[in-house]
């Protein structure tokens, strides 16, 4: 079920909210968790019974392994380590199988189509797999939240209670399909809170606001941008020249579309969870306002970045530090295992997580090298001198200007169905075709206006979490500088005026609600 589906909005979610409220009042927390687990299965089964069974299998396997990890005494370190890596291997192999089997089989038969979108990937598999991998590590480390949340596993009642709690956490429908990827230490304390499951006015207000903003971003902005973007990329894919305006509009349009689509989903996830009494971690913090690639990845798909950093970057970096200190005597070269290698691996894994495509491969390489170049530049004395001579505002503005166009190009590559498509698009963008101005008409100018209107929203307005900052809308993973000038000072408040504005956004959303296009990240 999609968050934008009227069946979800007008039937499923209201029933869940009422059900949770009643169960919490009359039967307690365990009943609420059981109900949420069942509701999550109903939410998910729309994509196929086989996918649901697959998810349940994954949940059972990980839960069993986590129970063994918790049950084994520390003295059996080897066994515990073996069990842990078995679980990680299970999770990773499931991911690799579904994301790469099509590619591997086709490649082995010589008919390689290095293209994503050709694999039937179970919806949400990446997100619930990552979440469970993190959980397994927490169980391995005997994290207090894991031990406390699962409770005593003695007896059938204890085991079933522990399982339902775990399953409710993993399958919690607001975050099940496209994240955010939640750590148990963020979820468990809220379940133990006395207010969990009670339908409270403050939660309802902030939750509804997040929900409507997310809907508006997806249904009104992203889906209308798609109507501009898709023909542009399809033309480029067919080898047809675009005029220069269409080419730039398509590239910028996709950059905006992906942001509004994905972050809209995250906003809706946070809104739905909040109404049910759970605050989820923030996944997007105005990434299009970033002034560097390092800044961008602190703001874009934050919960995935932190998982990759935890499992990939940090271990490789630690290994690299040890290797460099013992094996490499020439100082500048030490940065290779310490910084460069972890970054390259990190970005390549993130890129190839999206699928087996040459465009993703290149996207990851570019981002890795870009990040390295930026990191190294910031180490130079010239940079430090320049930094001391310039204001933060100047650096921000310059950084944003320098950062945006290369990032737009990177995401155009990400969207392209092949390198030749990107080549065609770039030819049109950089006037390398015969008639770059041919066919520029009112429609092209109008489309460009709409795309840059959408970009202006990203650049000049506060994001929904800045707007609602006084109400702690989500868990902040990083600290961001608040916008405090102009429109960025705007703050939300649960009053009639904001109610009317939000209702207007809801009406605009409902106007388009019947289109039901899928979310871009559903395929990942």
């Amino acid at each position: 079920m999609l968050f934008t589906d009227p069946v979800y909005l007008f039937l499923f979610f209201p029933i869940v909210v009422i059900g949770v409220g009643l169960l919490r009042r009359y039967l307690g927390v365990e009943a609420v968790l059981t109900f949420l687990f069942v509701a999550s299965c109903i939410f998910y089964v729309g994509w196929g019974v086989d996918y649901l069974l697959m998810m349940l299998t994954s949940i059972v396997v990980n839960w069993v392994l986590s129970q063994i990890l918790l049950a084994l005494p520390d003295s059996r370190r080897g066994s515990r380590k073996w069990i842990f890596w078995l679980g990680i291997a299970f999770n990773i192999s499931a991911l690799v199988w579904f994301k790469y089997s099509f590619f591997i089989f086709n490649f082995s038969t010589g008919a390689a189509a290095l293209s994503a979108g050709t694999v039937a990937i179970p919806v949400g598999i990446s997100f619930y797999t990552f979440q469970q991998a993190v959980f397994l590590q927490d169980a391995y480390n005997r994290d207090t939240h894991v031990v406390g949340y699962l409770g005593n596993a003695n007896g059938a009642a204890g085991i079933s209670r522990g399982f339902v709690r775990y399953a409710a956490f993993i399958a919690f429908f607001p975050q099940l399909v496209i994240g955010p990827i939640v750590y148990l230490k963020e979820f468990a304390p809220q379940v133990r809170d006395a207010t969990f499951g009670r339908i409270r006015r403050d939660n309802l207000e902030i939750g509804l606001f997040l929900l409507v903003v997310g809907l508006f971003k997806k249904v009104v902005i992203a889906d209308n941008l798609a109507r501009i973007v898709d023909p542009g990329f399809q033309s480029a894919s067919a080898g047809a020249d675009l005029n220069v305006i269409e080419a730039w509009t398509s590239a910028f349009g996709y950059y905006g579309q992906l942001y509004f689509d994905f972050s809209g989903y995250s906003d809706m996830a946070l809104g739905a969870a909040r109404i049910l009494g759970i605050t989820l971690p923030i996944n997007f913090a105005s990434p299009l306002k970033a002034n560097s690639i390092a800044d961008f990845y602190k703001r874009w798909h934050i919960t995935l970045t932190r998982v990759i950093a935890r499992f990939m970057y940090t271990p490789i970096s630690i290994w690299g530090a040890r290797f460099a200190s013992t094996r490499i005597s020439w100082r500048p070269l030490r940065r290779f295992p310490l910084i460069w290698l972890p970054l390259l691996v990190n970005f390549e894994v993130i890129a190839l997580w999206h699928g087996a495509a040459s465009t993703f491969l290149l996207f990851g390489i570019i981002h890795g090298l870009w990040y390295i170049a930026e990191t190294e530049t910031r180490q130079t004395s010239a940079w430090r001198r320049w930094k001391s001579r310039t204001s933060e505002r100047t650096r921000n503005v310059l950084g944003r200007i320098l950062f945006t166009v290369p990032m737009v190009l990177c995401f155009a590559l990400f969207r392209s169905d092949g390198l030749s498509t990107m080549g065609t698009l770039m030819q049109s963008m950089f006037l390398l075709q015969e008639n770059p101005l041919a066919g520029i008409g009112m429609q092209a100018i109008l489309d460009a206006g709409l795309v840059f209107g959408a970009m202006a929203i990203c650049w000049f307005l506060p994001n929904v979490y800045e707007l609602t900052r006084n109400f702690k809308p989500g868990i902040f993973t990083w600290t961001y500088a608040d916008g405090n000038t102009g429109l960025a000072r705007l703050r939300w408040s649960p009053n009639l005026l904001w109610g009317v504005v939000t209702a207007g956004a809801a009406m605009a959303t409902l106007y388009y609600i019947g289109r039901l296009p899928p979310f871009l990240y559903l395929g990942f």
């Binding site: 409220g21 207010t195 009670r198 006015r201 207000e205 649960p494 009317v500 899928p518």
Partner: protein, 386 residues
């Protein structure tokens, strides 16, 4: 990483239960969502699209609409016409007027939607078999019949035709709500038609760009492909259950109600057969190798229905003045020339260009030879403005 945040608002609002609805912020939202809820339930109760037993068919105004196609499924199947064309974008430009004039009937209707897939075809044909008063049904037999039978277009409203009434909440749209209102007021309900001419500027642009591109690539050799043997005997129609099993059942449903059925194979440019493999979308990959699979499903169609006395199959692929001249196309698959459509419709009306079991091998051999021979792009008039 933060632990659970404490919410400052906790201290300000402690309302729980139904009292939460007293919020001045929530009230306008409840009004909007409530209106939508009521309007949707009303749409189901009033049933302006005639989806349920209690509905009545809306009137379908002339010509077709690809934009409103999903809401028109039901109405298209019920509309009172003599000829109903169930097509895709490749025959979308055939006008009602052309059909009426050439077939000599009072009323014809072209219901073509963009990118239909097998499951969508089955749904609409089942609806047509059950409800349509049309005497003749024309079905465009395009490449997508080579896809798996359960393949559906995501934008096609399968939920309208299943037994689950809850998912019909998706029906809600300003148009359906408007129709509901019209019907509640006792006014006749007519789904607004759409004149194909309104998309002509866009098609002209596409045409011009395609021609410019072809001019640039005129001397570039076309990619080589593997050619199937003309009299391929290794084609197993059981690999194409949609064509060999499901389609005959649907056709029986139509012919048993006295309808004649024509299949029209849209004439793609010869070039398309050579360049198809550059397409990497999921559907395109599933029908590779394109030429072999297209010939296979056409052979299976002829085998399954070619001898049916109320069924005719038409193909124009070997009219090389059409398929060999890219000046007729706005892209490699879609014709642009109205004259070509007129020729196709008149051929059908007069029974020319039929594909039968007797001439299929010759047809296949000629098509393969033509595709193999199309080693360079045909010349065309760069200045042509259509």
């Amino acid at each position: 990483m933060n632990d659970v945040p404490d919410t400052p608002a906790t201290e300000q609002h402690v309302d729980t239960g139904l009292s939460v609805l007293r919020s001045m912020f929530v009230a306008p939202l409840i009004a909007v969502f409530g209106f939508f809820w009521i309007a949707t339930v009303a749409a189901i109760a009033v049933d302006p699209l005639d989806l349920y037993e209690w509905g009545t068919p809306p009137k379908l105004l002339p010509d077709y609409s690809v934009h409103k196609g999903r809401s028109m499924f039901s109405a298209a199947a019920r509309t009172d016409v003599d000829i109903l064309l169930i097509g895709s974008s490749t025959v979308a430009a055939i006008t009602s007027g052309q059909l009426e004039e050439e077939f000599g009937v009072d009323k014809a209707f072209n219901f073509s939607i963009t990118g239909p897939r097998p499951a969508d075809r089955r749904m609409i044909l089942a609806q047509v078999a059950e409800h349509s008063p049309a005497e003749r049904v024309i079905v465009s037999f395009d490449w997508s019949f080579a896809l798996p039978a359960d393949y559906a277009h995501p934008a096609v409203p399968t939920f309208m035709f299943d037994d689950n009434i809850f998912n019909d909440l998706r029906l809600a749209s300003p148009m359906v709500i408007g129709l509901t209102w019209q019907k509640m007021l006792g006014r006749p309900v007519g789904l607004s038609g759409w004149d194909y001419a309104s998309t002509m500027p866009g098609d002209r642009r596409r045409y011009r760009r395609f021609q410019e591109r072809m001019a640039r690539e005129a001397h570039r050799p076309l990619p080589e492909i593997e050619y199937p043997a003309p009299g391929a005997t290794d084609v197993s129609c059981s690999d194409y259950p949609l064509v060999s099993e499901i389609l005959p059942e649907l056709v029986d449903g139509l012919t048993s109600r006295g309808k004649a059925v024509d299949f029209i194979i849209p004439p793609y440019s010869l070039r398309l057969y050579r360049t198809w493999r550059s397409r990497t979308d999921e559907a395109a990959l599933k029908v590779r190798p394109f030429l072999a699979r297209q010939l296979a499903i056409r052979r299976c169609l002829v085998e399954a229905l070619g001898s049916h006395d109320k069924v005719r199959i038409f193909a124009f692929d070997n009219e090389t003045w059409i398929t060999g001249d890219l000046a007729n196309y706005r892209d490699e698959a879609h014709l642009h020339e109205p004259e070509v459509y007129s020729f196709m419709v008149s051929s059908m009306a007069e029974g020319r260009n039929r594909l039968t079991a007797d001439n299929f091998d010759e047809y296949a051999a000629t098509l393969i030879a033509n595709v193999a021979g199309s080693t360079q792009n045909p010349a065309h008039d760069e200045d042509s403005e259509r």
